[in-house]
Amino acid sequence: MRCSGLMAERKLIVPPDDVASMIDTAAGLMELQETIFPGGLVAQDQNVIEFRQVTKRFGTVAAVADNNLSVKAGEFLSILGPSGCGKTTSLRMMAGFEQPTSGEVFIRGQNVTGVPAYRRPVNMVFQHYALFPHLSVADNVSYGLRQRTPRPSASDISKAVDEALAMVRLDGYGKRRSYELSGGQLQRVALARALINRPAVLLLDEPLAALDRKLRRDMQIELQNLQRDVGITFLLVTHDQEEALSMSDRVCVMREGKIVQTGSPRELYDRPVNRYVADFVGKTNFFKGPSTDETLSVRPEMIEIAASVARLPEGLAARVPVKVLNRIFLGEHTEYRVASEALGEFMVMAPRKSEREAGVYDIGDMIAAGWRAESERILPNT
């Protein structure tokens, strides 16, 4: 089923009469999607959002350069990169806050280039939540529904709001004002406010950056569960590689306006396309490569250590004597910083299990390190 116009499609997202009865639980939400898109308008392999050669220039600077990003229906995709890499600009072009200098943006197969934000079937969770301070939590959450024509009835709206708040575990918070809520609660109100509209894609702009560490961890899990339950496509923009790796189905690494690599977290970690990705995704050691354009990368957890070179296991590609420079106990493993005359300084992650067998080494100890050939990655320096 294809809808002829964007507006028609928007109206389909939440037929006002059905909202209350359908959004019962998270399962109800999925049922709703099934009813609205029989036969799967949002087929698993279809791109909900697609960039075709999108470029965005601010003055002479290209924030996004010839980008061909695509977001698959139902997935949790993260755009990962340092600040200024063009990830936020990409997100803003999806939301409609920015229009590309050249190229086209498609949402659910519709060309939405030039379409303003208020006519796009996507919703956003802002970095600092952007909750309306003059409205109650309930009025914030119902804001999107209240913009529809015809406007849903008051009782339908209030039911939908109650269910959206229940979904983010904020039952009974409807009457509060935003300044009465904690950071984590604000975050969940912002989520409810966006998800109640059943967007084609939920856009999340560094949503966890403003939370403290412990809360961030909880929200990561909550976001992931929420995404699975409601079955809405999530697109998260972040500079935090751990966040991107732990939550996403796919991660898209960007640098200077360009996509460097897109793949599952495991692919990015195990098979980075270049030195930049290897460095950005996870921790790694870089050694001199076979040529000046290449670098040898070995992940610290792939390096084995022993009391002496002779005690290292058989079949290692490299085995060198090293001196222990530093040791940090991290619970499940210990991080050693070691130095060898031939290779320079590098990092080793020794799992707790190996320590129980071989013991703990002290700073200043002369030990040995080595790794298997399959742990080596030769990466272009680009």
């Binding site: 806050f97 303003p116 208020y118 301070p133 003059h134 529809r148 300044y179 509209n197």
Partner: protein, 267 residues
């Protein structure tokens, strides 16, 4: 240091306190205390000249406040959209409008109106046999002139403190630009607009200098007070002065409270 501060405050406020005090004087002369009485308030409020002047003043102040609030808010919103030297120039002009002394506004408005009337009156008289002249509306025009700047400054300060992503959030939630303005921008600016309205009302209500130049045959309360003083200060004038003072104080305090409360909901 503290004693100096107290002396300065006495110097500043003693004359005002005297006027307020002597407005409750039972005696006939302003500075000759005969006992407490509110008789002069009753006299003032039953004086048809004073009541007429009060009506004129309230009409002028209300019209000024309303027009300034609307035009000032539009000015502030418009200024958000320009940048560079144009914005700097407009900013400077807004401050100038506030700093220009009342007497300069009074004289220049008078001259402008007179030359304008000379230009259009012959034409108007021959066409519809009407004639434009000085009066309450000329005072309103002159007052609006500098009160636009007052409102614009307050609203701009509020706009600059406003989180821009609120506007984007509203658009993201399907509100049209007009819907966003009505549901988000206007409610958030409301405290500043209201405070600007009250300030404009106060400034217009208590203004003497500008009104004196362009009021024509109309008499505002400050003009009435000024002309009666020539016949000697009576407790009646003290009573009128106290009413003007208290009205201004009350409005200023309310405006300040609104602005402070608004700060809490700004983000």
């Amino acid at each position: 240091m503290r004693i100096y501060a107290i002396l300065i405050y006495i110097f500043l406020y003693a004359p005002i306190a005297l006027i307020v005090g002597f407005s409750f004087n039972a005696g006939k002369y302003a500075m000759d205390w005969q006992g407490f009485s509110v008789e002069w308030y009753a006299k003032a409020f039953s004086n048809p000249l004073i009541m007429e002047a009060l009506r004129t003043s309230v009409f002028i102040a209300f019209s000024t406040a309303l027009l300034s609030a609307i035009i000032g808010t539009l000015t502030a919103l418009g200024l958000e959209r320009v940048s560079g030297w144009l914005r700097t120039a407009f900013d400077a002009l807004i401050y100038v409008a506030i700093m220009v002394p009342g007497i300069v506004i009074g004289i220049s408005t008078l001259i402008a109106f007179v030359s304008f009337f000379d230009l259009v009156n012959p034409w108007l008289t021959s066409a519809w046999s009407i004639k434009l002249e000085m009066g309450a509306w000329a005072v309103i025009a002159a007052h609006v002139l500098f009160n636009i700047a007052v409102v614009a400054l307050l609203v701009r300060a509020r706009l600059q403190g406003m989180d821009r992503s609120l506007v984007e959030a509203s658009e993201d939630l399907y509100a049209t630009p007009l819907g966003t303005f009505r549901q988000v921008v206007l409610p958030l600016l409301a405290p500043a607009i209201l405070a600007g309205f009250l300030l404009a009302f106060t400034f217009s209500f208590e203004d003497f200098i500008i009104a004196y130049f362009v009021a024509g045959p109309n008499t505002t309360l400050p003009i009435y007070v000024f002309s009666s003083i020539r016949r000697g200060v009576t407790p009646e004038i003290n009573a009128v002065g106290t009413v003007v003072l208290m009205t201004s104080f009350a409005l200023l305090i309310v405006a300040q409270l609104i602005l402070q409360r608004g700060q809490k909901t700004a983000r």
